[in-house]
Symmetry: C2
Subunit: 252 residues, 2 copies
Amino acid sequence: MAAWPIEISMESFNEAWALEGETFWRSVFEMHKHKMEIKSPKIAIGNLEKIFSATFTLANTKGFQAMSLRDLSRETGISMGGLYAYIGSKNDLASVIEGVLRNTIEQIVGGLSAHNLEPLQCLRAIVYGEIFAIEKLSPWYYFCFMELKGLPREQQQQTLELELRFEGILMDAILEGVASGQFICDHPKLLASQVTAQLQQWHLKQWKFKLRDIGKQEYAQFVFESLLKCLEYSGVGIEGSNNTAAANSELP
Amino acid sequence: MAAWPIEISMESFNEAWALEGETFWRSVFEMHKHKMEIKSPKIAIGNLEKIFSATFTLANTKGFQAMSLRDLSRETGISMGGLYAYIGSKNDLASVIEGVLRNTIEQIVGGLSAHNLEPLQCLRAIVYGEIFAIEKLSPWYYFCFMELKGLPREQQQQTLELELRFEGILMDAILEGVASGQFICDHPKLLASQVTAQLQQWHLKQWKFKLRDIGKQEYAQFVFESLLKCLEYSGVGIEGSNNTAAANSELP
DNA sequence: GTCTATATCTGGATAGAC
DNA sequence: GTCTATCCAGATATAGAC
């Protein structure tokens, strides 16, 4: 995984961060190989993907606690005993999943601050970037949201802190825009949490968006434009020429 | 439970719907007394409250599946055997909770349509009313949101349908306002789902709002004003004299 | 590395005394 | 109506063969 691309669009994001395929699963393997008995990457990576994917299928439909390791064994085609070569325990499996996701998010979010983008571009990058990341890692996000209660206190805490940090970045961009006169906003904290809520919907309410045939592109655009309306952004500001349409122009 | 008050404010809402105290728990008892062995209301109501409340405490911190009936027995002070005089089975308990909540919401939501309010007043009623209801029934909402996966398919379906119906009401009010020229809105469906998301946050993210010391009044107002901004509502429309400030004036 | 077989335990549910 | 004692299915986890 590298860093945020300079030109931010879903395509360039796709190239910059490997959130699927061989590359991604290899990095997952690297992240917690110290916890498993299997040392050969060649064998481990394939089985890891099987185990994680099956866990998502099962846990995201019936719940992690309700899912038994027998279910998981059946779904993956790996025997009960075999599973324990990859995971320390059932609870450990959930912990690892949370760890990998948080680690990944932290890299992405951390990379954002480095860029020192203009407020408007920064907000756009966050919204589109997060929708993109959630889209790719949807089962991971959903799993962690729903199973957070079952994880160790420390991980619960860290998840909350990450969410606060994320909103902090949003808030800073908003405040900077307010300071420079581009935006008007009475409740930056609440507006930031509104955006977080909308982004989280993208994995929490997949059923709804599928039912209504709403794509990620359309949704991200809505969230961003809705945010601009709440910021009473009219397209005039320090950059003068920018307006909503222009801000989206380079996206498909 | 009666109906929506004519003058809609949190206080009048409070009087119109009994969502707490003796009256509320009596109605809960009425709703599923046919499923329990205990016939005397006098004894049953108190124990029901104990059982439900304890379930929320336990399930909302460790998860319903992770909570054992032995935990519940300890927390309520009722023996294992005793519990089974009140609930048919562990799963039944979750089902009953969902049933009671949905029933209650349906009464409240159903009462809304009856009023034939002006779009602006209708939206305001929905936002403030829902925040109020969620505030009072917070553990119920949270429980049903998090444990939905574990419930019978039929109940899952009905929950989704209720959410769609709720958003339908929001959408209709928005569209009516657009038709009459008060509002401008390109994506009524998405805007309605934005409002739903914000309302659900009120129980999903209690930790955040407590941490930031944000009260329900302040939050409801933010959601409503944010909605108006997205509707590009300027206070001029069929009623002429209305503006945002006026629309909120009668609330504390 | 992977499997089968098994030890051990937890938790839902019930029977029957009081 | 409520409790104690008990049954038993099903779950996690491990030992040891291949």
